[in-house]
């Protein structure tokens, strides 16, 4: 049962985020997609690397 619940929850979250929507799960929190632009990272020694952009999932716990 729990597995089924989690699977369904995952599907909903995935679909919502894929549509660039925030997904708020009642009682749990809000999932959203956050875009991180490409950025340059400097390392000791002078090496500079351009990190690719990426989309990550952000979670905010529901306020109690």
């Amino acid at each position: 049962m729990r597995e089924l619940l989690i699977r369904k929850l995952t599907d909903i979250i995935r679909e919502g985020l894929a549509n660039n929507e925030k997904v708020t799960v009642e009682g749990l929190g809000t999932f959203s997609k956050k875009h991180i632009a490409a950025e340059e990272k400097s390392y000791p020694g002078g090496r500079v690397v351009l990190m690719p952009p990426k989309d990550v999932i952000e979670f905010k716990k529901v306020k109690e």
Binding site: I6, N19, E40, V56
Partner: protein, 543 residues
């Protein structure tokens, strides 16, 4: 989008036979397990991810599959090295591979270098020592007991001999015509010759260790047969001094040979050869000492020093040659390595990426860009076809539908539920494109002359070597990619499509611009209109 508990339960209840109460209870347990996490605790949900309480805040780390699905637009994109750091600093923080290897390698090289030299030196040294040993050993018993305890005696004898010899010489020179020796009896002559003989023997013994071993100190002869064997050859050869100083030997003895007394010819003849040799040696020795080698004679105590000069001379040259050869070989190696390194750095463009991949394997899964060129060439070809495709009736359904289904990996295990068809994730990112198509975005800042080999505008030009483009789209639908390319081209950008294989799926990356360096590409990308400014990425291609 908000999912209420009721909606969730409704969805679940349609999939299971469980009563809603039980489902609700299970759900609340699940939610509570997350909400009631204490600092440091975590809950893992197999398909979703992990919730962890970090200092009172709940953090969520999606599982890898979900993270990839969300980040599919940028999946496979690699970090690009914009600026190489100093040598040995090429490894980012946190990456286990470190320059220590380089240091180790350097250290090893140093060690090797040392070895390279050291082998020479050490070996030479060892050889020298060995050779010294070789020289010394003949005079030392195995128990390191010197064969000649009476070294001083030998030295003293040499001196005495020399003095006597000098006196004899003076006498002989005085008596060169034998005037004073008329009264000499044969016995005295014999005696004198015998003395001379012993003189010569002792001199030669002093000069040549071998004779010293064999003749004056017969006591030791028995002890070291090997010595006498090796030395006997020397005694017969009358070695080094003769060969070195033979010219003088020939001259001076000539004056000395004049027999002072004729009545003793028999004895003279018998001993003549020995006498001549002895005197020649004595003279040679004297001359040698006159030339400043007396100091060495004083060191007779040390047999190794006594002998070494002549023998080490002959061995020193090969050692020096070996050293010089080693140095030359090493310098050639170093120069060759340097040239190879420079060539490999400036030659193909693969190197930075290769090191990059080696350095950041976790971040980059993409195939090496070096593999792209053929594909890039194909794309250049397809790119020329693109305008037709773009002007061709672009399938209306594509423009309306937003080929999201192709862009987003379909969640196979999604239950049939009212969740809207996987809307195009692209829709958000590419949103600007329709705008850009309808309302032309502000004129793209041209960072470089459009007519040049590099720049944002114009057409992709064939240049030798690599170019860098700004990836603004990564689409799974080729037609869509071509549409975007056409749009961008209409705006004046030089564009290119590069296909990229990712997990068996082909993504078509639309590049804008053709720039010479990653820095220029980044700079140009930051000047792109807003839709692209935030999500561009730089990649290398070979036109």
């Amino acid at each position: 989008m908000t999912i209420s508990t009721e909606q969730l339960l409704k969805l679940i209840s349609g999939m299971t036979d469980q009563k809603p109460d039980i489902v609700l209870e299970e759900w609340e347990t699940l939610v509570d397990s997350v909400r009631n996490l204490k600092p440091g605790e975590s809950v893992e949900m197999s398909q979703l991810g992990t919730f962890k309480n970090v200092k009172g805040e709940i953090e969520f780390n999606p599982n890898a599959e979900l993270a990839d699905e969300i980040n599919y637009e940028y999946s496979g994109q690699e970090p690009v090295v914009i600026e190489e750091g100093e040598e040995g600093s090429t490894v980012p923080i946190g990456v286990s591979v470190s320059g220590d290897d380089d240091e180790a390698a350097t250290a090893k090289d140093d060690a090797d270098d040392d070895d390279a030299f050291g082998v020479g030196f050490a070996d030479d040294k060892a050889n020298a020592e060995d050779s010294d040993d070789d020289f010394i050993n003949p005079f030392v018993r195995k128990g390191s007991e010197p064969l000649f305890p009476d070294v001083d005696e030998v030295a003293r004898k040499i001196k005495e001999d020399e003095d006597a010899e000098a006196a004899a010489k003076a006498e002989n020179q005085d008596d060169i015509f034998g005037l004073d020796d008329e009264n000499d009896t044969p016995s005295t002559l014999d005696k004198s010759f015998e003395e001379e003989k012993t003189e010569s023997e002792s001199i030669s013994a002093a000069d040549r260790d071998d004779e010293a071993i064999t003749q004056p100190k017969n006591d030791y002869k028995k002890d070291d047969d090997d010595l006498t064997d090796s030395d006997s050859t020397n005694t017969e050869e009358k070695p080094l001094f003769e060969s070195l100083e033979s010219p003088e030997d020939e001259e001076k003895p000539a004056a000395m040979v004049i027999p002072p007394v004729k009545p003793d010819e028999n004895v003279l003849k018998e001993l003549k050869a020995e006498e001549e040799a002895a005197k020649a040696e004595a003279m040679a020795r004297k001359i040698e000492k006159e030339q400043g080698k007396r100091e060495k004679a004083k060191q007779v105590k040390k047999f190794n020093v006594w002998v070494a000069p002549t023998k080490t001379k002959s061995r020193a040259n090969p050692q020096q040659l070996a050293k010089v050869g080693g140095l030359i070989f090493l310098s050639v190696l170093v120069v060759g390595g340097l040239i190879w390194y420079l060539l490999s750095m400036s030659g193909s463009g693969d190197r930075p990426v290769t090191t990059q991949q080696a350095v950041q394997p976790a971040v980059t899964e993409e195939q090496p860009i070096a593999e792209i060129p053929p594909a890039a060439e194909e794309e250049v070809v397809t790119e020329e076809v693109t305008p037709q495709d773009a002007t061709e009736p672009v399938p209306a359904d594509q423009t309306q539908e937003e080929p999201a289904a192709e862009l987003i990996p379909e969640p196979q295990d999604i239950a049939p539920d009212p969740v809207p068809e996987p809307e195009p994730v692209l829709e958000t990112t590419p949103e600007p494109e329709p705008e850009s198509a309808t309302t032309p975005t502000p004129a793209p800042p041209v960072t470089e002359p459009a007519t040049g080999e590099y720049g944002l505008e114009g057409e992709i030009s064939i240049v030798s070597g690599r170019s860098y483009g700004i990836v603004v789209y990564s689409l799974s639908n080729q037609n869509r990619a071509q549409q975007e390319q056409a749009t961008l081209r209409d705006l004046g950008y030089r564009t290119l499509i590069i296909p990229h294989e990712q997990d068996g799926q082909t993504f078509y990356r639309v590049l804008v611009g053709q720039l010479e360096t990653p820095e220029a590409a980044v700079e140009a990308g930051q000047q792109l209109p807003e839709p692209y400014r935030n999500s561009f990425f730089v990649r290398r291609f070979f036109p």
